[in-house]
Symmetry: C2
Subunit: 306 residues, 2 copies
């Protein structure tokens, strides 16, 4: 099935306890595109960049079978830039700079080639941009997946609720699930969020894994145990891209398929965090992914016998 | 196999966001004994209580096939008392009172009936008490399991290292594993801790589950997703009791058996936290445990297929 995604294509400057980068390639749509390309799924990106965005980056994305027809280039503008510094535990970070630039007046345009997408991944962005993309599609996609964050809950609640009401799957972290629902128990939170629209709720817990909720069913996975996490930037977007890409590849959206999609997303995210930015994700092959999926099996499988 | 355990038998007064209790039955050995009794394993407790300890409590323990010959009663002393108040997230708490009382000069005496124990569970206590029990046994038990906490790392480092060097399995939480090893990565931490003595390292992560490390092997489980956690007191001790009890029952200490023991411990702990103190654990039957083990299977099982 065709996968369309909207999200940022950006410059990131990252500092972690292990080193720092100059401006490197980043952005939700970039990670989503790269993650789905590992699965052999062509993602159609909707995004915007400035005149300062290197052609090499776009060529690299194209070489990975990522469709960038919908990535508008505004020559007189500058590309969205984010800079952050992670604390020692890598779970918290300070934002050093956020320069919206061309993102400030981003008016997304879905390319004709992407209008009939059956799977729509709404990357973490202003809800009005997400809504605009949803409204441009000829038919309501078979599956709409939403990634969002606390910032939009704080500043654009009503718009966010409108997007949420139109989605099938939402991915947020545990604190955001609590904020969105007003419930501390994640089980109760997931139940309340399902009443807002999404039939599937994914709660991302970083180094503690992820949870999938659907009606009475729950699926839980730990995160892979890595020697070192080097740079968490893009982990959530990679997860979203792997998840959406796998579902587009399979063309099935039942609970069992979603479970595997959750593991694909987690496995791909585990590569991303091992190097700076998109560096490692660009190198990942399908075989490497399969190997890491098997590691998940080894890590979690057991026989009940008491 | 025979299971011997040393630990506190105590009074707890607990306050959670959901309510508060007067002095109720608590203590590591109490939870460990109750947890193993669900498995049909008779635990031999080594502990101490004061003249104020109700005979009814001891009768209740005996009725659960828990051996209390090694629970010394000091008539002129008072039972160890702990009081704490949990914060809204239930992950953190303030200690309101710690009255050591008879624990202050606790000189543990292993009863003759427990001297040939093959599995020794060292409940969370002063390392010198744990060492004393270990030294009283005729033969080195086939398996020594240690539960400890940051307090002993802060105050009795050398003694703790001596106990650690003599154990086969250690159970600690993630922060404690980091403190003990000086490594942030839990994989590196577990590797370093194995070099200190224990061949198996269990890292407890509360609502995020638990990890088991042994050489190159890792096993991870999430926690069961509960509607509400009511009172976390005793969860770690229940886990330790279920883990040790299952291994004593099986008489096997290989990695596969340890994996199931980890789930038994987690399943039992999930009962404990649903009510105050030992209340729910006292009601748990073998069938209830089996049912909850199956919930773990449902929660975590998947087929890799990409």
């Amino acid at each position: 099935m065709k996968l369309l995604t909207v999200g940022t294509v950006a410059f990131d400057a990252i500092e972690t306890p292990f080193g720092k980068t100059d401006k490197i390639l980043g952005g939700a749509a970039t990670y989503i595109g790269l993650a789905s390309s590992v699965l052999g799924v062509e993602a159609f990106l909707v995004s915007v960049v400035g005149g300062d965005f290197p052609k090499d980056y776009l060529e690299m994305l194209k070489s990975k079978n990522i469709n960038v027809e919908g990535v508008e280039r505004i020559d007189e503008g500058k590309t969205f830039f984010w800079s952050g510094k992670y604390h020692l535990d890598l779970n918290t970070r300070d934002t050093l700079a956020t320069e919206l630039n061309v993102l400030e007046n981003f008016n997304p345009k879905v390319p004709e080639s992407g209008e009939d997408a059956e799977v729509l991944m709404l990357g973490n962005l202003h809800p009005s941009v997400q809504l605009s993309v949803l409204n441009q599609l000829k038919n309501r996609p078979k599956l709409v997946i939403l990634d969002t964050m606390n910032f939009w809950m704080d500043h654009t609640w009503d718009l966010l609720m409108e997007v949420i009401s139109k989605t099938d799957v939402i991915t947020i972290n545990d604190e955001e699930a609590r904020q969105l629902s007003g419930e501390y128990s994640l089980l109760k939170a997931a139940t309340k969020i399902q009443e807002m629209g999404p039939k599937y709720v994914i709660i991302k817990k970083g180094e503690h894994g992820a949870l999938l909720f659907h009606k009475e069913r729950i699926f839980a996975i730990p995160a892979l145990i890595l020697e070192d996490v080097f740079d968490p930037t893009g982990a959530g977007d990679t997860f979203a891209g792997g998840f959406a890409g796998y579902l587009a590849k399979k063309g099935k959206f039942d609970f069992e398929t979603m479970k595997v999609a959750l593991i694909v997303g987690s496995a791909l995210a585990s590569f991303t965090v091992e190097k700076f930015g998109t560096e490692h994700l660009q190198e990942v092959t399908y075989d490497m992914l399969k190997q890491r999926m098997n590691q998940f099996k080894t890590l979690t499988s057991f026989e009940v016998e008491i």
